[in-house]
Structures are given as C-alpha cells and as structure tokens.
Symmetry: C3
Subunit: 273 residues, 3 copies
C-alpha cells in the first residue's frame, strides 16, 4: 500500500532553501521517497488556507501517501505535533487545525460561526487514530526550536514511508485541533458563503459546496447577482457561477478575472438564494 509519496504544503515560500532542506532530510531517510509540492506560498501562518488547499488535493494521491503541512506559528512551543490517519493516508504537522482534512466532516464542527474558520479542540472516537510525535528516534539528529519542518516533520514523514507504524511515533492523541467543515452556514434566506481562495485566474472560490446548491440558484457577490450555475468557465463574456473542480461554488469571468472585475477577494460574501 505504501506508495512512498510525500506531499508538502508550507508557507516557506520559494526563494529560501527551507523547502529544499526538508527534501534533503527526506531523501537521507528514504532515498526512494517521491516528494510532491502542493504549495509553498500559503499566506504566512494562515492555517485555514493550508487546510482548504489540502482538502482539495489529498484524495488525488495514492493510498499510503503522507501529507506534511507546515504552517506553524507556534513552532518550538509546547503545542503537540501529530500524525493522523484517514482512509489509508497519513497527515503530519502541528496540532493547530492545519491538518483538519485528516478528519472527516462528521468529526469536525459542522459549520463555522461568523465569517472565519476558527480552530477548536474536538474529541476523537476510538476508531480514529491520531498519534503525537514524541519519539525522537524518528527525528533529525538535532532538533531546533525554529525549524521543526526540517527536524521533525520531514524526518517523521520519511520514516512513515519506510513502514514505521504511526503508533511508534508517540502516544495516542484523543483530542486534536480541528476546523469546522468547509460548508457555508445555511440561513432561512439561503446559504451564506465566503470566498476562501482566489486562484491565479481570479476565480473566487467559496465555501458553498455543490451539495448545498438547489435548483436555479441566484448567486450574489459584491453588488452583482448571477442567475444559474454553469458547467464550464466557457467563453462567453461576463460573470458566471461555476461548480469548480473541488466541488465548491466559484465566481468566474471567462478570459478575465472575477476578483479584478468585482474588486473583491478572500473573505468576500457569496450569498446563494
């Protein structure tokens, strides 16, 4: 099952050697590991952005993959470090909510309250396995207080691809930090979404999921309303609503940028009626 695949999601950027060094550590432990970058330009210390990106990506990797997330404002402090298993995948990173996709929606708070996705502790049932990373045998030789991505997470992930059992990494975690499920709250008037991400094309990606859309929805963002949801970005001009490739409602402009056209970005309201 173990595919030897490790994905990396960080806020380290592409200019510095931080990401390359993590890969060096991985190859020192498992020379055959396959390392895939998901993103290294997560907004600095934005745990929610990291989790939303990982949510859209992890299912497309082979079973046995290890997904490392290092968006870690608390690096070097006492916050726990985790390995969580789900559906044959392993998720490794700090216990601050960035690993939320490792928890099925049924384990997470059902809906955000207010516009922001705030981390909160949840109790895990016995059949969900999460372990704290405490066994230094699987860490690098010297563990710094400023770069656990290199000294802890990369090293542990590489050992996992060699067949180390998560239970060898440390004690079971019964409570972990989670984010609410990425589903907009439902109100009597409709669904109150927010923009969670703006992609390179200027598409506004909301937290309104496909399964929250009724027939003939009207989508309002900024001062504009859009009637109906289209199948493709298409080529006709003007704003349109589309269900994007991850199952979330997007507002787009064919051949242009909805973000620029509307002058809105992450955090903007997307109301569906």
């Amino acid at each position: 099952m173990s595919a030897g695949v490790i994905t990396l999601t960080t806020d380290f950027g592409l200019a510095d050697a931080y990401v390359g060094v993590m890969k060096g550590v991985i190859l020192g432990v498992n020379p055959d590991a396959r390392i895939i970058d998901l993103s290294h330009v997560i907004p600095a210390q934005d745990v929610v952005a990291a989790a939303f990106l990982l949510e859209s990506a992890w299912r497309y990797f082979p079973a046995g993959s290890v997904h490392v997330v290092v968006v870690d404002p608390g690096v070097g402090t006492q916050r726990p470090r985790l390995c969580i298993e789900r559906d044959g995948h392993r998720f490794v990173g700090p216990d601050n909510g960035c690993l939320a996709p490792a928890l099925s929606d049924s384990l997470r708070p059902a809906r955000r309250v207010g516009a922001a996705y705030a981390p909160a502790a949840v109790d895990l049932p016995a059949d969900v396995t999460a372990h704290r990373l405490e066994n230094a045998a699987y860490f690098g030789r010297n563990v710094s207080a400023t770069f656990e991505g290199r000294d802890v997470f990369a090293s542990v992930a590489a050992h996992l691809t060699l067949g180390v059992a998560p239970s060898a990494l440390g004690p079971t975690a019964t409570t972990v930090q989670a984010l609410p499920a990425f589903r907009a709250p439902v109100t009597p008037a409709g669904v109150s979404g927010v923009v969670l991400s703006v992609d390179r094309f200027g598409n506004l990606i909301s937290d309104v999921h496909l399964d929250q859309l009724g027939a003939n929805p009207v989508v309002t963002v900024g001062s504009q309303s859009i009637v109906g949801v289209e199948r493709t970005y298409g080529v006709s001009p003007g704003l349109k609503a589309v269900v994007g490739s991850s199952g979330y409602l997007e507002v787009a402009v064919a051949g242009g940028s909805a973000a620029a056209t509307l002058g809105v970005g992450v955090g903007a309201s997307v109301e569906v009626r």
Copy 2:
C-alpha cells in the same frame, strides 16, 4: 525507449494545488513516472507563450518523454484533446495550438502575418500520427468540466509512460490547430521580428532565428540600433545582440535588464537589417 518522463507546462501558477494534484494523479497511475516542471506561470491562457517555451525545451528531454501542456481557455467545451507524436516524443494537451512544437516547421504555416502568432487548422500527412483523447478508460474516474488537466491530460500522460499506445487513446486526428513556425517574416528591408518572451534577466527574446541572420547585422529595437551580434552576454556595459541558447536573437544588457533599459517587452518590434 520510454523514459517515464513527463514534463508539465501550464498557466496554473504556483500558489494553488492544481499542479500538485496533477502529479498525484500521475503517481496513482505510474508510481515510477519522473515529473518535471517546465513552467506553471505561462501568462493566463496564452497559448503562444506556452508553445514558444515548449519549443525551446522539449529536445533536451530523453526520447519517450511525454510533454503535457495545459493552457486551455476552452476547458470543458467541445474542442478536441490530442496526443501527437514526433521524433519519439509524445505531446498531450488541448487542440488549440499550444502543442505546435509537436509539428515540424514544414507542417506549420511558414510565417506569421502581422505581429501575432494566430492558431490555424492544418491538415496532417499520413505519416504524422496524432490521436484524439476519447477513450475514457485512460481518464480519471470522474471527468470534471473545469479541470481536464487533472481528469484527462495527467491520467493519459501517465498511461503513455506505462506503454499504452497512442492509437488506443482515440481516433486519428487528420486536422489539428497549429501556430506558424517561430520565424520572423522576411521583408525587402530585412527581417521583421517581435519580442516573444522576456526572461528573468530582462533579455528580450525575439522570433528572429539564427538561420535568418546574415553577416554583420544591425538590430534595431525601440529607438536603439546595435551593430553586430556577440557570442556571450559578456561583461562590457551597454546593449548587445546575442544569439541565445535556443537559437533566437536576443537583446541583452550585461549585468542589467534590456527590458528595463529600453522600456519595452513582449510584442516590441526587433528589426534586423
């Protein structure tokens, strides 16, 4: 022959997970595929820029490589999807001109008319093999209308590296979209080039090819004329003309940026006399 190498050229950017997800799909099909990024910051939906970049790159990869280009304004619409073979390489992407380097210059319109490289349909001779991607057995499980890079092109490319024959992918294509050969028009007064790309150093890369240069050329760009073509970027100050590493005439400034010095960019005229 099959090297298991897949190159990726897209306009997806580096912030989102789109590229990483394509790689996950590839590794799910062929865990041993070697995936190389050519560029993911092609200007959004700029088919010509993608083709010009690929033109400079593909010959440096081993025979058997699969070159995937996803610059695809028409994603999800009825435009065909192609696999074209050339000199032991396979080229996979939408049929919109971005795969033009898969066609030798003799198959493509000889020269652009006007400043822009516009896609146009060309008829293929019987000895050039191109196939439409229609056999869903080689696609992902669910094919979205918004992300064929993930659901079609990545999956097909991975199957090709496993030895699937292009003829298994779908029917033969006899007509495909092509771009004119990347050669500036010749006029009675000389060669009328345009800048097709500006690299990170500010070098202005034109569509005037080495084989279009006579002895002692005079190169005019913006309000400046440069006498002669040099062998290296060198270290002496001032504007110079150089034949770049892909065989195209460049205008450069040693230790500086020709683009900034001249205040010009893509689309600027480069006249050679």
Copy 3:
C-alpha cells in the same frame, strides 16, 4: 555512497524553461537521478546570496549528493568551471565564489572587510580536491556560450551521479575563487553584523553566528535595541532576536515582519554588544 541526488541553485527564475531543460539533460544522462530545487530566485547574478543559501542547506543532504550552482555573470567567458569535493559532497559551478561552501571556513578568508563579501582567489592545500571542468566528453553535444547550466553543469553533475570520478573531468585546480567565511567581524565594541538575507516571514538573517554570541547580548538593528536572544519566534508581540535554524542570529517579529517593522533589508547593520 552516491545517492544520485542533485541539488540546483540558480538565478534563472521560475517562469522560463531554463531549469526544466537542465533537468531534462540530467535525466537523459542518469534517468534515476533525484533532482531537488534549492532556489531558482537567487537575486540575478548575486554570487554571495547563492553561497549563503547553499551554506545553510548542503549538510542536510545525503553524502554523495552533487550541488550545482549556476549564478554566473561570466557565462561563456574564460572563467574556469569547477567540481570541488568536501565531506563526500561534490559542488559544481563556475569559479566565481558561488561554490564557497565547498571550502571549509579554514580555507577561506577569515572575515569580510567592509560590509560586502567579495570573492578572492585562495590557494588550495593538496588534500582538498578541486578539478576544472574541461573534458567535453561529459558535456552536452553542443556547448553554447550562453547556457552552460544546460550544456556543461547539468551534464557533468549527472555523470558524477553515475560514478564518474571528478579527476576525469579535467585538471586539478590549485587556486579557486572563495568568499570570506560567513562570520561577522569582531571589533573592540562587539560584533558588527550585516543582514545577508530576508526570508518570506520578514526575518532578518545576519552573518553573526551562534558561536560569536556571548552571554546576554544586546542586538541593535535600525534604531532599535533588543536585549537577550530567545529560543523560538514565539507568540509575544514585538521585535526579538533568535538564533535561526542555520545557526545565524535573526531579528524577527512573531506573526509579523521584522523587515517591514524596521524598514530595513539586506545590507542593514546588526550590531551585537
């Protein structure tokens, strides 16, 4: 020992195909090479920035790794090209100082004079092995004067991972360009550091090394003084001094940017008393 790992450090940027083409050349020579990007956005032609980045990274790779640096204002000119060996690692690039981390501090000028790290020739003792890259049998088929990263360095690095001995590459080099050791000068008043790098978090990374810090240091940068050095970036507000993951003194702001807070960047003075 040979791990087949090749790291790449360049100023080529991520938009163009230059880096991808180097990887194509490598895979054409050694289809099993593992290629890791350290950075491709080194400031253009900034040899010192490349060397400082490599200094922080190379020790985290397995023995046998080949570290290629192509920051090369003199490409195509007569400056030598080198392979230097150190502690089981090989360093490949132009002889302009960018390979300085291949030389232990004892071989390099002990301290910079003035604020800048300037390359200077040093004589190598007999037990340090450095070779000039002159044997064209290990180059690409055609060597351009404008892209030796592709035609020389990538090809040579790949051959090294196949077991080619450095001595086969060309004659021994007895004098090479080096940079002073990355250690700030010590003055009667303290240690006179400069900022060598600013990372994505706005941390100001100086050339004051951990081993140059006494007890209870006071760090002055811009108009601000900081008393004491902390173990982590932490979460309390305000400026702090931290020993970063590479052993160098950094000035940081938890959850913010020291560079933005202080309005300073590379080259700023960091005085320690």
